[in-house]
């Protein structure tokens, strides 16, 4: 029983990180129809900022703020420099553009920083753990769950109560009509990227605080997982992205904990088979995007 609870906490921590990343992909996709595979490089940028701040001896809170801000700034720049020129091009063109950005950034990290993994100095308290009854829970896990909850509540309030958030929902549903209302395309798209950068930055801090290292390819795996989570939840649906992220986290952690030893090397394929099985029954994902049902003009 304790083992299950223990793994459930782990699953929430990992699933929450996937949820934040999947949300970042979904926010941009819902508005632009673009899957931004360079989302992972936003994480990597935040990771390196965390590393340099650690080396410079900055207080951790300041380091986190700088790392997240760097991811937001990088996301906005990415949109301005790379995606705006191809905004009206086909989805395939935008997808290839996002791969190009990811590769260029990876090469830059390898050549300007280091091809090898770099240690990130983290405060001691993150590797401590707290005892709850029979459970021993890492502070980094608690921090991950708390950060996820705060981000989800913030995002929900922003999307429901802020005029800009409502405009983003309107744009996701019908961009052309949203523009007729006077909603500026540039503002909404830049806003979506800023939000995705914020989510990637927070996810990066959570990711790095579990691993204490950063390397040029750091963002690739989590973003691939987030992409799977976004599909699982229903591409373009924000609630779906959260649901998909948590479900994927649960699948991975439970398989790692409870699969017999001899099957462990097949853990990832088994996990993906479960994802495929879910999609067989719900082809549009757990919580499909309503906008995708309507005709996109």
């Amino acid at each position: 029983m304790d083992l299950i609870l223990q793994q459930t906490v782990n699953a929430f921590a990992l699933g929450g990180t996937y949820a934040l990343l999947a949300l970042g992909l979904a926010v941009v996709f819902s508005i632009m129809g673009l899957i931004n595979f360079a989302h992972g490089e936003l994480m990597t940028i935040a990771g390196y900022v965390l590393m340099y701040c650690g080396l410079a001896g900055f207080p951790f809170v300041l380091s986190v703020a700088l790392a997240v801000s760097a991811a937001v700034a990088a996301a906005v720049l990415m949109e301005r420099i790379a995606f705006r020129p191809v905004r009206n091009a086909s989805g395939a063109t935008m997808l290839v553009t996002s791969f190009a950005i990811a590769m260029i950034l990876q090469v830059l990290f390898q050549n300007l920083i280091s091809a090898r993994s770099q240690a990130v100095v983290l405060p001691q308290f993150l590797s401590d753990s707290v005892q709850f009854g029979g459970l021993i829970i890492g502070v980094n896990k608690i921090a991950a769950i708390a950060a996820t909850v705060i981000m989800l509540v913030f995002l929900d309030r922003f999307m429901k109560h802020q005029k800009t958030g409502i405009a983003m929902r309107a744009s996701a549903e019908d961009f052309a009509v949203a523009r007729l209302m006077g909603i500026r395309a540039n503002t909404v798209i830049a806003g979506a990227f800023a939000l995705s950068g914020l989510l990637a930055g927070v996810a990066a801090v959570l990711w790095v605080s579990q691993r204490a290292s950063v390397d040029p390819l750091m963002g690739f795996t989590p973003v691939l997982k987030a992409f799977i989570a976004a599909i699982l939840g229903g591409l373009g649906s924000l609630r779906g992205a959260v649901a998909g992220g948590f479900l994927l986290g649960f699948i991975e952690i439970y398989l790692a904990a409870f699969l017999p030893q001899e099957l462990q090397e097949f853990r990832d394929p088994i996990g993906l088979c479960i994802v495929v099985a879910v999609l067989l029954f719900r082809p549009n994902g757990l919580i499909p995007s309503l906008a995708l049902k309507a005709e996109k003009v």
């Binding site: 052309a176 007729l180 006077g182 909603i183 395309a185």
Partner: protein, 238 residues
């Protein structure tokens, strides 16, 4: 009366297809204009290109003395020109009130926005009753009211209505045309694209008849109602 909107040598292309092939028309302050024609005549293309949703291939559009030919759609609502699109296209996943809020998005004058809320809720009390409901759950007629109400939130001087009566029950269609007249009485200039020719000509002051991307007849509503070109345009002979 001076022209609020004047359009010259206006061309719209969809890829290689010439949807609108050089039309000239004008809309004067305080008028109701009916834009008529069979399916594919180029009416909706004209409206969509006027508001910048599709590019203008050639020609000029002057609105209230300034050239808006190539303006981005988001600049037009604040300037006083808006379109209630074909098929209503309300934001179904937003509440009624959120839809209306979006209609006033580009308007900075807070007092004007407050007045617009009053006006829309007075015109359509049902929207006030259903303000917290998702727009997607409204009936077709209510969605049409919301689409018009949303367009009114920006206090337009010129309101373009694309097929406002499409798919509505006859009784609701009558209400839509009463609304058009009422809005004109409140000082809004309107241009209406309609399949329902008889009712459109009943409320309109003047009309333009389009066929094959060109204007084939123009005149007062009474003149158009009697013209032969009207029948031939709808029978496809034009």
């Amino acid at each position: 009366m001076s022209a609020l909107l004047s359009v010259q040598s206006f061309h719209v292309h969809y890829g290689a297809v010439e949807a609108v092939r050089g039309i000239d028309f004008e809309i004067r302050e305080g008028e109701i204009i009916a834009l008529l024609g069979a399916n594919g005549a180029g009416k909706s293309s004209t409206l969509n290109a006027l508001v910048g949703l599709i590019p203008v291939a050639a020609g000029t559009v002057m609105f209230d003395g300034s050239d808006i030919t190539h303006n981005a759609p988001e600049t037009l609502a604040p300037a006083g020109l808006t379109l209630s699109p074909e098929g209503r296209r309300v934001f179904g996943t937003l509440s009624v009130a959120e839809n209306l809020l979006m209609g006033a998005y580009g308007i900075r004058d807070k007092q004007a926005v407050a007045a617009a809320w009053d006006r829309v809720y007075t015109l359509f009390p049902i929207l006030y009753e259903r303000r917290d409901q998702f727009a997607g759950t409204l009936s077709g007629g209510q969605q049409q009211m919301l689409a018009v109400g949303r367009a009114l939130m920006s206090n337009p001087r010129l309101l373009l209505l694309d097929e406002p009566s499409l798919g509505l029950a006859p009784k609701i269609v009558e209400q839509v045309f009463e609304l058009i007249t009422l809005l004109r009485d409140q000082g809004v200039t309107l241009a209406v694209v309609e399949q329902n020719v008889a009712m459109a000509l009943e409320v309109a002051d003047r009309g333009y008849l389009m066929s094959g991307g060109r204007i084939v007849a123009a005149g007062s509503a009474a003149e158009l109602a009697q013209s032969d070109s009207l029948q031939s345009a709808y029978l496809g002979a034009g």
